[in-house]
C-alpha cells in the first residue's frame, strides 16, 4: 500500500482546513461530510429529547405529563427525526467523508451536487421542527403517516403539521436521491488505479449497496407522499377509503421504500464493523469476498420483503406466505456478515479501545435484533406481536443498539483522521459503558412488554405493564446522560487532544495513508493499489509505521 507520510499539510498551515470552512458552501467532500455529521448529531439530540419526554410520560400508566395530541406529535417527530435527520443523513456524511479517501479519489464525482444535497437538509429539518409552533401543532399520525388518519386535519387550515411533515420528507428524499446518484457514480468511476471491486473495503461495498437501494426504492416513498399531499390539500381521493381510494396502496408504496430504508441505515453500520473489527483484532477480515457480496445480497433480497409490515393489513394468505419466505431469506446474507465478524475476532490479538468496544457491543446486540427480526417474519407469531412493543424493541435493537453504536464506533475510529487529534480514551470508555447499559435497559424491556400485548403508540396503559416501563424509562434517561461525556470528549479533544499521526490504529486502507486531516485533494498523488484489503495477517503486506501515535507514546 502506498504511503504518503511526506505530506506535511497540517490544519494550521492549510487554509482549506480552517474551521470557518465548515460553515461555508464548500464543495470539498470532507467539509460536506463533517457538515452532515455535526448537523445530524444536533438533530439526534433533539430526537433524543423527544424520546425522553415520551419515556417520562410512560413511566406511569396514566396520561399525566403531556396531553394526548402532544404525545402523538412527540412519537411522530421522534421517529421522523431519528430516521430522516439522524441515521440516514449521518451515514451520508460519514460516507461522504470516507468513500473518496477509501477508493483513492480526490473528491466525489459531482462536488456541487454534493453540496446542494447537504444544504437542502438544514432548512428541511428546521421546517419540520418548526411545525411544533403551528397553532394546531405538528404531524400526529406517526412516522408512517398512514391515511386516512394522516388526512384528518383541522378544517380550514391548509398549512398544518401534516402538510409541513410531507413537504420536509419529500425535500429530504430529494436530497437523498441526489446523494445516491453521486455515491454510485463516484464508486463506479472514481476508483484509483488498481482499486478493483474486490480490493474495495467492505464499507465502500455497503455504501454502494445502500445507495443503490436509495435509487431503486426512494422514488416510491416520494410518489406516495406527493399523492398524500394531493389528498390532504387538493381534494383528490387516492387513499381515502370512503371515497373509493385505497389506504392499503399507500402502505405498499410506503413500505416498498421504508423497509429497505432499514438496510440503507444498517448496511453502512455493517461496513463500519468490517473496518473496525479487523483493525483492533489485527486479523484480516475473515471471508472478505463473502462479506462484500453479502452487502449486495442484503440489498437485493430486501427489495422483496416489504409486505412483512402488512401481514395484518387485510393481506391475503398467499401474499403472507410468500413474503414470510423472502423476509426470512434476508437472514442468510446478514448471517454471513455476523459469522464473518465473529470469525475475524476469533484467535486474534484484541485491543479494546473505544471504537472496538462500540463495534463489538453493536455487533453483539445486532444478534438479538436480527433473531427477533426472523421471528417477526414468521406470520403466525407476527400476527400476535404486530404493532406491540415487541416491534419497537426489535426495531430499536437494530437502529440504536446496532446502527447508532456503529456510528459512535465510526466517530471514535476516524476522529484522529478527521481532526488530526486523538480523543480521550477514558471518557470514550465511560461513554461506551453508559450507552451499552442504557441501551439494553431501555430496549430490552420492550420485548417482554410486547409479548404481553402492550400496544405501541399508546399514551396511557394498563398498570400491569408498569414494571418493565419504569426500567425502560430509567434506561432512556441514562441514554440521555450518556451523550454528555461524548460531547465533552469530542469538543475537548478537538481543542486540546493529543496530535494524531496519520495512522494511529495501524490500520490498512487508503484513508490511513494520507495525512490527518487529509489535504484538500486527499492525496499528494493518486495512489496505485496493488494489494488486497485488510492485509493485517500478512507481515509482508502490513503497514507498520515507526513514527506512529502508539510508538510515540512508548
Amino acid at each position: 500500500m502506498t504511503t504518503h507520510d511526506s505530506i506535511d499539510t497540517t490544519p494550521q498551515n492549510d487554509p482549506e482546513n480552517n474551521w470557518r470552512h465548515y460553515f461555508s458552501f464548500s464543495t470539498d467532500h470532507k467539509v460536506i461530510g463533517v457538515q452532515y455529521m455535526v448537523m445530524t448529531f444536533i438533530f439526534f439530540l433533539i430526537g433524543g429529547l423527544l424520546a425522553m419526554l415520551i419515556r417520562a410520560e410512560l413511566i406511569t400508566p396514566a396520561s399525566n405529563v403531556v396531553d394526548r395530541p402532544l404525545y402523538n406529535g412527540l412519537f411522530t417527530l421522534h421517529g421522523t427525526i431519528m430516521i430522516f435527520l439522524w441515521i440516514i443523513p449521518f451515514n451520508a456524511g460519514i460516507s461522504n467523508y470516507l468513500v473518496p479517501l477509501m477508493i483513492g479519489a480526490r473528491d466525489m464525482a459531482f462536488p456541487l451536487l454534493n453540496a446542494i444535497s447537504f444544504w437542502i437538509l438544514p432548512p428541511s429539518g428546521l421546517l419540520l421542527i418548526s411545525s411544533f409552533l403551528l397553532p394546531n401543532g405538528t404531524a400526529q399520525s406517526g412516522w408512517w403517516s398512514y391515511p386516512p388518519i394522516s388526512l384528518q386535519i383541522p378544517p380550514g387550515q391548509p398549512i398544518n403539521g401534516e402538510f409541513i411533515w410531507i413537504v420536509s420528507i419529500v425535500l429530504i428524499g430529494i436530497s437523498s436521491i441526489m446523494g445516491a446518484v453521486n455515491f454510485v457514480t463516484t464508486i463506479f468511476w472514481m476508483r484509483a488505479p488498481g482499486m478493483t471491486f474486490f480490493r474495495m473495503p467492505v464499507f465502500v461495498w455497503s455504501v454502494l449497496s445502500a445507495q443503490l437501494l436509495q435509487l431503486v426504492n426512494l422514488p416510491s416513498l416520494t410518489g406516495a407522499l406527493i399523492l398524500l399531499l394531493f389528498d390532504l390539500n387538493f381534494g383528490t381521493q387516492f387513499f381515502k377509503p370512503l371515497e373509493n381510494g385505497d389506504p392499503i396502496i399507500y402502505q405498499h408504496l410506503f413500505w416498498f421504500y421504508s423497509h429497505p430504508a432499514v438496510y440503507i441505515m444498517a448496511l453502512p453500520a455493517f461496513g463500519i464493523f468490517a473496518e473496525v473489527l479487523p483493525a483492533f483484532s489485527r486479523n484480516p477480515l475473515f471471508g472478505y469476498r463473502s462479506l462484500a457480496v453479502a452487502s449486495l445480497g442484503i440489498a437485493v433480497v430486501s427489495i422483496f420483503v416489504w409486505v412483512h409490515h402488512m401481514f395484518t393489513s387485510a393481506t391475503p394468505g398467499w401474499m403472507r406466505m410468500l413474503f414470510m419466505v423472502t423476509s426470512m431469506l434476508v437472514a442468510v446474507p446478514t448471517g454471513v456478515k455476523a459469522f464473518g465478524w465473529t470469525a475475524t475476532i476469533w484467535k486474534s490479538k484484541l485491543h479494546l479501545e473505544t471504537p472496538m468496544l462500540f463495534a463489538m457491543g453493536g455487533a453483539a446486540m445486532f444478534l438479538l435484533g436480527g433473531v427477533t427480526g426472523v421471528m417477526l417474519a414468521a406470520v403466525p407469531f407476527d400476527i400476535h406481536v404486530h404493532n406491540t412493543y415487541f416491534i419497537v424493541g426489535h426495531f430499536h435493537y437494530i437502529v440504536f443498539n446496532t446502527i447508532t453504536m456503529a456510528i459512535f464506533a465510526a466517530i471514535y475510529f476516524w476522529f484522529p483522521k478527521i481532526t488530526g487529534r486523538m480523543y480521550a480514551e477514558g471518557w470514550g470508555k465511560v461513554h461506551f459503558w453508559l450507552t451499552f447499559i442504557g441501551a439494553n435497559l431501555t430496549f430490552f424491556p420492550m420485548l417482554p412488554l410486547g409479548l404481553q400485548g402492550m400496544v405501541r403508540r399508546i399514551s396511557s396503559y394498563d398498570p400491569r405493564y408498569q414494571g418493565w416501563n419504569i426500567l425502560a424509562s430509567l434506561g432512556g434517561f441514562l441514554l440521555g446522560v450518556s451523550v454528555l461525556p461524548f460531547i465533552a470528549n469530542i469538543v475537548g479533544s478537538l481543542l486540546y487532544g493529543q496530535r494524531a499521526s496519520n495512522n494511529p490504529w495501524l490500520a490498512t486502507g487508503l484513508e490511513w495513508t494520507t495525512t490527518s486531516p487529509p489535504p484538500r485533494d486527499n492525496f499528494e498523488e493518486i495512489p496505485v493499489v496493488k494489494r488486497p484489503p485488510y492485509d493485517y495477517g500478512d507481515p509482508k503486506y502490513s503497514v507498520i509505521e515507526p513514527h506512529d501515535y502508539h510508538q510515540q507514546e512508548n
Partner: protein
Amino acid sequence: MSRFLEYFLIASYIAVLLVISHWIGAQAYSWLPVEATAEAQKVDSLFSFLTAIGAFIILGLVGMMVYSVLFFRAPKNDYSEGHPSRGDIKLEVLWTAAPTLLVLWVAWQGFNIYQQLDILGLQQVVHLHTPLEEPASAASISDIPKPADETIEVFVKQWDWSFRYPNNVTSNELHLPVNRRTRLNMHAKDVLHSFYVPEFRLQQYIVPGRDIDLVVTPTRMGEYKLKDALFSGTYFALMDANVHIESLEEYNQWLTTAEQQPLAIKNQAVAEYTQPPKTLLKTGWYTVAPEPPAIAQSAPPKRLTANERKVMNDDT
C-alpha cells in the same frame, strides 16, 4: 492432539448450548399471556421453537465474542498480526448453507402453523365491496367464507368498539361462547383500526369500506381486553373493550338479558374529551371530536362520506 482437544471443546460447547437453548425455548411459553383460543396454542409452540433457535445462535456467537475478549487480548502496544487466515471456503459455504436450511425450516414451520390456524383461509381474506369489483365466476370457491357456528358483527370508530349479535342486540362488550368457531365480521367507520386480543394471539386490521372476517375459537373462559392495535388518533390509548368468554348457556342467557334491557354504554374518549385529564404540558391542539355512542343499532350503519363525517374543532 491440541486440534483434537479444540474440536472436542467446541463440540461440547455446542452440546451444552443445545441443552440450554432447548430449555430457554421451553421457558418461552411463560413469557406470553394465557392462551384463550385454539389458535394461541399453535402460535406459542411456534414462538417456543423460534426462541430455542434464536437462543442457540445468540449464545453461540456472543459466547465466542466473550471468549475472545477473555483469552485473545493483545499485550499493550503489541500491534503485530493476530491470525493470518483470510477465509476458509468450506466454513463459508457451511455458514451460508446452514442458515439457508434453517430459515427454510422455520418458514415451513410457519406455513404449517398458519394453515392450522385456519383463521382466514389461505385463498381470500378480504371481500372488496367496491362497484368495480364484480365477483368473478372463477373466484367463487375461494370466496366462500369459512364455516362458523356463530357470527358477530364488529363495528369500530374513533374511539369506540361495538358488537352486534345474531339477535340484533348491540353492546360495547364482546361476548363469545367457549369452544365454538365464531366469525367476527368487522367494519371500520372512519380510519384504519386493528382488532387485537393478546390472549387470542390474533390481530387483524379493519379497513373502512371493506368487510373483513376473522374466525376465532375461544377455548378458555374468562375476561380479557380487546385493544385497537393500530394507531387511530388522539384517544387511541382508550380504545379498549371487555371480552367475555363464557359457556354457551351463559352466553345465551346474556343475549336474552341484553335483549330485554338496554345496556348502559360508556365511552372513555367522550368522557375525556369533555373533561381532559390534568397534564404537566397542555397544548390544546386540534383533535377529531369523539361521537357520543349510539344506544342501539338495529340496521347496519350506512357508509358515510367524508362530508357527512362530523368533525369538530377542539376549542379548549
